[in-house]
Symmetry: C2
């Protein structure tokens, strides 16, 4: 498989207007990744990638992340079977964020709580600000207790 | 205007399955915000919010961010007129990321380079990995040299 080269960041013009991939990872070595459902446009999750996760995602066409909870490279779907096939990858103007449009295998869910999207609750705004969160998915797509068994929950307080 | 209360993070169950807003800001005091065009579903930008930016966004129904380049609270559109009206705000499972679905005023652009979306370039994957970035917007929506005059470019190498 071709090996994507990460180029040096030589000038603002080249980073913003060029055709060369020159990603900027944060002080923690990570870069945020927005993952949307290519069919519906819904945001599924916000993940994080280190150098290896970004390379593997581009090479294999399947989403890889760096798990901040488990501090390890993470092939999404390795446990659940819910692999994310990359339909298109995009990078932003200053090349410090990635957007993946994906097709999700199986039930189509991407959230460890069991919903399709991690963003399953709306936050009231304007005149309704301060009100309770509102669920936007009626039911879970899978039972996380069956899929993940006794694996630790990645949510940290 | 109602003041949205940020609640303490008491349990994983309440954070994930409850109806109480309990956002988790990172060590730098910031939380990533995915902003999409409510009409097209396209991702416009990935921004960052501190406590004040999130409160103001929820209260006013207009997107506010924290500028990491200028280290200041930032009412999106204050300079360019391209205000982002929040159609819906959502929070993710562990409440450390926000998704805004917005309607953009004026030309509808959200990127300081002049494009509608900051994610105007595709990164080749799979058999094409390593190839040049491909532009996905044919033309800029506005001329940044006119809109921003001599304001410093926020992109940092």
């Amino acid at each position: 498989m071709p090996h994507p080269e990460f180029h040096p960041r030589r000038s603002v013009e080249e980073v913003e207007e060029g055709t060369v991939l020159a990603p900027k990872f944060g002080p923690d070595g990570l870069l945020p990744c927005i993952t949307t459902d290519a069919a519906t446009g819904n945001v599924l999750m916000l993940g994080w990638m280190n150098d290896a996760a970004l390379r593997l995602t581009l090479q294999t066409g399947e989403a890889h992340y760096f798990s901040r909870a488990r501090l390890t490279l993470w092939h999404k779907g390795a446990t659940s079977g819910l692999v994310q096939q990359v339909i298109e990858a995009r990078i932003d103007d200053d090349q410090d964020a990635i957007w993946l449009r994906v097709a999700v295998a199986g039930s189509g869910a991407s959230c460890h709580v069991g919903y399709r999207s991690c963003f399953y609750r709306a936050v009231p705004t304007g005149a309704d600000a301060g009100g309770p969160l509102r669920f936007r998915e009626d039911a879970k797509s899978f039972d996380p207790t069956l899929v993940y068994a006794d694996a630790p929950n990645p949510t940290q307080l």
